[in-house]
């Protein structure tokens, strides 16, 4: 072989240098300890939300995060209307409305034809509902996006609420409510919600099978017309999509929708305040649902006021407090104390739900043996009291920070997470700066500020406890535990209704 050209020789030389670098690195000594390999700081560059946001026709919003790595598109659309807006005496309407959007047909398509159309596209189209919001999801191959959007908008704008499917679904929901009477966690949750429901909230009335059976299609139509409006929609779109083309497509459909129903006017009617049923309802205490279960379920916590007045510093402290009492990671004190250290419970889940414009809640739910209810509750109270009176050590605070930032990274790791997070901000009125400034904000939280926020938010005097289990054994377990006398001797009997 003869010699090489100059450029080829240069390429070989570069490859040689590169290879030498690799070889040197591969032969570098391995540290004796992993400590030097723990990063001192982490770069986290979040996508600019403004670059993803689009205002659509009629006031709807869309956040679009392209991702060409997989030939799929996900379209999530949400409205700020859920179970909390069930009209008085009409519990279950929000959930049934959302469910029927998917099951009841759309426009000219009866339910069976709609299902077939979705099926032919290999699309996943679902609707969902929760306490404060409802929505729908379209997940479709990129080359079928337009057909998928036709189906999605048919569901949103022209639901048929097919009567036969409605009857089937209503029956399923009623049976579901009835069968949940055997689920201690559901019984306990409903009892806790009834006890702690605030005026104007529908949770004071039970979701019962009889009430569900009285619901009619007209109830659903009315709820849909009031709340599923073009101006209230927020879209989160991700995947193999061209933002400009998508926005044009959404606008075209929204114009058609607005043309069909007329311009939206005024604020949607909020649920009327519920009449006080006159039943005496203590603000705090312990109640027992006497159910012959194998194990016990315990719910403990209280409602929280809207957090609109919280300073940003307090909000960041609340984020860390949530990690310490409700986080999924190893920092969670309640899991550590109740489950890992003392084996008092099988499982414990907690929630610290703070929202600027509505009441939130702090709630722990644990499963345990009946005889451990008392000791588990006592340990729970002690741990909460520690958070209120002692400062969290700096190592735990640092661990909580890194755990929150780790989840932030996971949240923004996919295009779906990016679009979904920014869309959620728009829906709940949260500034995007919360994420963009999170790392710095968490760094500014001191142990004493965390303790102050814990004192503010976690109030033992307001705690409502619901225990689901065989009453006599529960009472015996409470008797020997370090708990308030009012809990031990004044346990209120609760009814599943």
């Amino acid at each position: 072989m003869t010699g090489l050209s100059k450029s080829a020789a240069l390429a070989v030389l570069q490859a040689l240098v590169f290879s030498l670098a690799i070889r040197a690195e591969e032969r570098a000594p391995i540290p004796e300890s992993p400590e030097p390999l723990i990063p001192e700081s982490l770069a986290l560059s979040l996508p600019d939300p403004d670059g993803l946001a689009h205002t659509l026709h009629g006031g709807a919003l869309a956040f679009v995060a392209p991702d060409p790595s997989v030939p799929l598109v996900e379209v999530v659309v949400v409205v700020p209307a859920g179970e909390a807006l069930d009209p008085p005496g009409r519990r279950g309407v929000a959930g049934l409305t959302a469910a029927m959007l998917r099951r009841g047909g759309a426009g000219a398509l009866d339910p069976g034809v709609f299902d077939l159309r979705a099926d032919r596209l290999a699309a996943e189209i679902e609707s969902f509902s929760g306490i404060h919001r409802s929505g729908a999801v379209l997940d479709v191959a990129a080359w079928r996006l337009e057909e998928g959007l036709d189906l999605l908008f048919g569901m949103l704008a022209e639901p048929r609420f097919d009567r036969e499917r409605f009857r089937l679904l209503r029956r399923s929901l009623a049976e579901g409510v009835e069968s949940q009477r055997s689920d201690p966690a559901v019984l306990g949750s409903r009892a806790w919600e009834r006890w702690t429901a605030l005026p104007g909230e529908p949770f004071g009335q039970p979701l019962d099978a009889e009430g569900v059976r009285e619901l009619e299609v007209e109830d659903l139509r009315a709820f849909h017309a009031r709340h599923w409006r073009p101006d209230r929609l927020v879209f989160a779109v991700s995947g193999a999509v061209d933002p400009r083309a998508l926005v044009e497509s959404l606008n075209r459909r929204l114009r058609d929708w607005v043309e069909a129903v007329g311009e939206p006017g005024g604020e949607p009617q909020e649920a009327a305040e519920e009449e006080d049923d006159g039943e005496e309802r203590p603000e705090s205490g312990l109640g027992i649902l006497d159910v012959p279960t194998t194990g016990a379920v315990v719910l403990a916590g209280h409602r929280l006021e809207p957090a609109a007045d919280m300073s940003s510093g307090e909000r960041y402290a609340a984020v860390l407090l949530e990690e310490v009492i409700a986080g999924p990671g190893g920092v969670n004190r309640l899991v550590g104390r109740l489950r890992t250290d003392r084996g008092l419970v099988y499982a414990v889940d907690s929630e610290l739900d703070l929202a600027p414009e509505r009441a939130g809640r702090w709630l722990s739910l644990f499963h345990c043996e009946v005889e451990r209810v008392g000791p588990a509750l006592a340990a729970w109270r002690q741990e909460v009291e520690r958070l209120r009176t002692e400062t969290v050590d700096t190592a735990s605070l640092a661990a909580a920070r890194t755990a929150v930032l780790a989840r932030l990274r996971t949240r923004f790791d996919t295009a779906s997470g990016v679009a979904g997070t920014y869309a959620e901000d728009a829906l709940v009125g949260r500034s995007h700066d919360v994420w963009l400034g999170l790392a710095e904000g968490l760094e500014s939280v001191t142990p004493s500020r965390l303790r102050a926020v814990a004192r503010e938010l976690l109030r033992p005097e307001d705690v409502v406890v619901v225990v689901v289990g065989p009453r006599s054994r529960v009472v015996a377990s409470l008797r020997s535990a370090d708990l308030p006398d009012s809990w031990k001797s004044g346990a209120r009997p609760l009814s599943p209704e």
């Binding site: 990063p39 290999a122 780790a406 295009a415």
Partner: protein, 506 residues
């Protein structure tokens, strides 16, 4: 510039080749860089532009099916013990710890021998009970207390947490064990350090404590998962004495009999470098990642003799009229029917994949028949689980309150009979194929899910099947499916399980 001779170029190229040494497969949308180290460890690197995190993990083909008959649950116990650290992670004073381990092993050896020779050897071995009989409780507790004081509980998890890594978890299945975590790209070398360390130098500390944790996990699972008891009993009946019928968690009281040396020998045999595959998905650059892999995992050396036998393929007897398994449950009635399926690399597997797509979904036969038309079920589906040596095909239905699972079974039988008698329609098959293809893409979206998928498929047969629609699906015809149904959905080889609330409702 001086001309460089062809021979010199060739020489350089050969020298470069091992360092570059990976194959790149671009299957449609994802690039997977595959490398094999000299010691047999394989590495898969999948960069994803725009990702902020790295999903990292490894798989070893050592699952519950490889447990020795005398030690059911060993693979699962090892999974737990691999979180307890090494000589360099998890102990304040390693020398003192070694002394305590020796003392504890000697004491436990005495207890085991006493139990074997004693009159109550028919009872499960309980070291605390035997220690009490011999008056050795104080000594045992003293050793354990001091060992616990010397250990740094959960140091591995703490190190990861300090590096802002999360979702540290592991799972053991019949054929494999999977260890995964999600971490920032800056912590990649930390991952290589910690994972190669725990594979080269596990010390199996807190053995007694972990046995109790395993037992507690089992109690919790049974208490909180209503389907669990039914599924376990059906599987045991289906597989008989084959290891696939065993509980993954095994029997903690039997594992108490295991010495630390026996544990070590098993680990050395099963966790050889040639049985390991690493994968990293997300914010990774293949070249430096492979360099790190060589540096850290290249130092693993095989131990043991490599003479461990894999379990045999299971044979499921043809037994007409197998006894139905009935369990009580507190909530909705359920019906479960299990058949032996086929292993991952079997030619029938693509047909069974398509059969599932035909039966499942809103327009699938099961939903149409059992949910919409007959109104007996809330949900019904089939799932085929291909394992390394065999497979399981399950039909499951969650029934409406008041429905009798035994009365619903003939409806399933009628559906099967239709499939045995008549080939499925071409349009129905085309729809199922389309769904499978799109579903494959759905499995690629999220890094952690893709990681688990890649590693699992790799352990069972081939990672390539994890990232692209399978060409074998295109070869399946309606007649092929009919023939596979005849071979697989055989009443004489199935096991039926039912779960119903007591009379009078839940």
């Amino acid at each position: 510039m001086r001309r460089i001779s062809g021979v010199a170029v060739l020489g350089v190229a050969c020298w470069l080749a091992p360092a570059a040494g990976w194959a790149t497969a671009k299957d449609g949308f994802l690039e997977v860089h595959e490398t094999r180290l000299e010691n047999g460890v394989r590495i898969l690197v999948v960069p994803r532009p725009g990702a902020l995190a790295v999903a990292a993990g490894w798989v070893v083909d050592a699952g519950s099916a490889h447990d020795p008959t005398s030690a059911p649950g060993l693979a699962h116990l090892l999974e737990h013990l691999l979180f307890q650290g090494t000589s360099r992670v998890g102990a304040r004073d390693r020398d003192r710890e070694l002394e305590l381990v020796e003392r504890e092993e000697a004491l436990l050896g005495r207890l085991r021998e006493t139990w074997r020779q004693g009159e109550d050897s028919s009872l499960p071995f309980d070291p605390d009970r035997v220690a009490e009989e011999l008056g050795l409780v104080g000594e045992l507790e003293e050793i354990r207390a001091e060992a616990a004081a010397v250990a740094i509980q959960g140091e591995l998890s703490l190190l990861y947490a300090r590096a802002s890594a999360g979702d540290l978890e592991a799972r053991t299945f019949e054929d494999l064990a999977l260890f995964t975590v999600v971490l920032p790209p800056e912590a990649l070398e930390l991952w290589f350090w910690l994972e190669s360390d725990r594979l080269s130098d596990p010390v199996f500390r807190q053995l007694g404590r972990e046995l109790r944790v395993v037992a507690e996990e089992r109690r919790r699972d049974l208490a909180t998962e209503p389907d669990r008891a039914l599924e376990e009993r059906v599987r045991r009946a289906l597989w008989g004495n084959h290891p696939y019928g065993r509980l993954v968690a095994g029997s903690p009281e039997v594992l108490d009999l295991l010495s630390r040396d026996a544990l070590r020998r098993y680990f050395d045999e099963r966790y050889r470098p040639s049985r390991l595959t690493l994968a990293l998905v997300g914010a990774v650059d293949p070249s430096p990642t492979v360099s790190l892999a060589r540096r850290y995992f290249g130092r693993l050396v095989p131990r043991g003799t490599g003479g461990v036998e894999d379990p045999p393929s299971p044979e499921v007897e043809r037994v007409p009229h197998r006894e139905r398994i009935a369990v009580a449950c507190e909530d909705r009635p359920r019906l479960a029917v299990a058949y032996p399926g086929v292993p991952f690399d079997h030619p029938d597997r693509p047909s069974l994949d398509l059969l599932g797509a035909i039966l499942n979904g809103r327009t699938g036969r099961l939903h149409r028949e059992l949910v919409l038309e007959r109104g007996v079920a809330w949900s019904a589906y089939v799932v085929h689980r291909p394992l390394a040596l065999a497979g399981e095909l399950w039909f499951r239905a969650e029934l409406r309150p008041g429905e009798d699972p035994v009365a619903v079974l003939p409806l399933w039988d009628a559906l099967v009979e239709d499939l045995r008698r008549e080939p499925v329609g071409k349009e129905e098959l085309a729809r199922a194929l389309d769904h499978l293809r799109v579903d494959t893409y759905r499995g690629l979206r999220e890094s952690r899910a893709l990681l688990s998928r890649l590693l699992t498929y790799d352990a069972l047969g081939s990672w390539q099947a994890a990232i692209r629609p399978e060409e074998a699906w295109d070869e399946v015809t309606p007649e092929t499916i009919r023939d596979v149904v005849r071979r697989t959905l055989d009443e004489a080889r199935r096991q039926v399980g039912t779960c119903a609330p007591p009379k009078g409702g839940p």
